[in-house]
């Protein structure tokens, strides 16, 4: 046991310490990346779920299994920039259903760290409103006439509405380093085929 041993111990402690510090740093990076991946994945899955539902419901806008009931001017009963109410035969049973999409305010999710998230509800007839997404931070609706001109909302039984543009943004309720994972879906024009007057 002499100086050389002491130098060995100190040297290995220093090298080991450096290695440990590197490993800890690497660990932190890995955890951060894993968290980002995980939150991104959740946001993207939510977007796909919501978009799939909106795709179908909005494409059915004005549809009725009993085509003799289809009229062009009573389909969209109400629409503004964040909510829409329309008739569609969702269950294809030959009678119209009253479909209502609307957004809560931010207080509904005040217990989450994200100050912007809201709940997007979907209500069919007088049933209990279903939660379509509970981490929506933007939900935007734009109404267009047959010439693709914007119609100023609110629209109430307006037969001029031929198209509806939909966009929404989903954010994770929890942030990592104040960054909220987010995903956006934007359908430039949902051509609601049953709205387009032939």
């Amino acid at each position: 046991m002499g100086y050389s041993t002491l130098i060995d111990v100190l040297g290995s402690a220093i090298i080991g310490g450096l290695l440990l510090m590197n490993l800890l740093r690497l660990n932190a990076t890995v955890v951060e990346n894993e968290t980002h991946f995980s939150h991104d994945k959740s946001a993207q899955i939510d977007v796909v779920l919501i978009a799939t539902l909106i795709d179908r419901d909005f494409n059915l806008m004005g549809y009725c299994g009993d085509h003799s009931l289809i009229t062009s001017d009573s389909t969209l009963s109400y629409g503004d920039s964040t909510s829409i109410r329309f008739f569609a035969d969702i269950d294809n049973n030959g009678s119209y259903d009253d479909v209502y999409y609307y957004l809560s305010d931010t207080s509904a999710l005040s217990h989450t760290p994200n100050p912007r998230d809201r709940i997007l509800y979907r209500q069919i007839n007088s049933g209990t409103p279903q939660i379509v997404g509970n981490n929506i931070t933007e939900f935007s609706l734009v109404y267009l006439d047959g010439l693709r001109n914007e119609i100023t909302p609110p629209v109430v039984y307006n037969p001029n509405v031929n198209f509806v543009k939909v966009a929404f943004k989903v954010e994770d309720p929890f942030a990592y380093d104040d960054n909220y994972a987010q995903a956006v879906w934007r359908r430039l024009t949902v051509t609601t085929k049953n709205l387009v007057k032939q």
Binding site: L60, I70, L147, N162
Partner: protein, 427 residues
Amino acid sequence: MGGKIALILVLGFGSLFAVFGLKMLESQNVAVDNYAFYFNKSQANYLATSGVHIALTNLNQISHTWTPTNPYPIAGGDVYLAVNTPSYGMRTIRSVAHYNGRTDTVIVTAKQKSFAEYGNYYQVFNNVWAATGDTFSGKFHANDWIQCYGDPIFLGQVTTTRGVKLYDKNSFPEFHEGWKLQSSDPVQFDTTSMRLAAFSGGKVFRDSTGANRRTDVKMTFNSDGTVTYSYKIGSGSWSADEIVNLSALAPNGLIYVEKGNVYIQGTINGQATIVTSHRGDSNAGIVYVDNTMQYASDPNINPSSTDLLGLVAERRIEIPFDASRGDFKLQAAMFSMNGGLTVKNYASYPAAYKMDILGSIIGRNVEATAKYVWNGTLKKYVPTNGYSYIHRYDKRFDLTAPPFFPKLRIFVPIAWYQGQVQIPAFY
């Protein structure tokens, strides 16, 4: 000693990173699966929609009895089509698309629209302009420019094959439901099928001697559901009036005057379509509206009225000159294959009268019906002689039409149904 610790640290952290790495890979896989699902689902939907368009194109351009030959390979997927005929003039197209394990179904109901669904439908405008003071109700279509002089008002959706032509910079037509370009569908209809239908369950007036003479028919509709009629073959004399129930005269509602003309007026209680054919005679194929022709149950008061009248003229529909007639009503869907709604000698009327029209006007061309002069006080053109018409579209024609009333050639979708998509669990 120190080397062992370092080795243990490296191995420990290595294991830890391996676990995290696996989790990250799983996350990436799920994200990719999620994206792939949406992509495949969207592709399947687009392919199913394409299938519908393939079917519509073939039905409209190849044959109305076209049947698909499945499958249709498109863009890496397969589309299976089925076309059914649920009723006359209707088709149901079922398009099922498979793409990368995802399936989507679109079911479209298409129909040949009735011409009656248009408030106004014209082949050509010629030198006539839709002008200030004109209000067009219902859908408006022209296989031509829509010519606007001043500020005509179009309440329904306007379609045109060429566009909108303004008379000058001061012309500002109002399109309440906008306008758009649409392919041409001519004001033509082969009345042969109507003739056959009239023979099988309606009434046919014709020269049955084989001499091929013109047949003229006078019909006065009575509000009790009967019709008083007489007819004349060639230069012969008019037959004695006969009064019969409309439902007995033409059980299927079709009254066909072969190579002849019909003169009508009265109040119809029931449903009928009156057709006049010309068979090459320039003086035949005309429907003359002598005076008020209206429904017993007025749709203006009773929107559920079931009274329906269709007038189909292979030449034209004409209001004959009668200086003593005054204002009158005309409630019908009118199809004038080689003319329009003509007011004979309109400039010779002693004053300007009103022609109150409820229904549809389908014609080869737009006709002038009144003489206008400039009124310096009102600062606009006002009618002085003839008939200015007040036209309203009969909303019932959105869903129904007079029996056997002509339909457009093409099938158009009226209802799109999209099947439900099974969303897989990604978590």
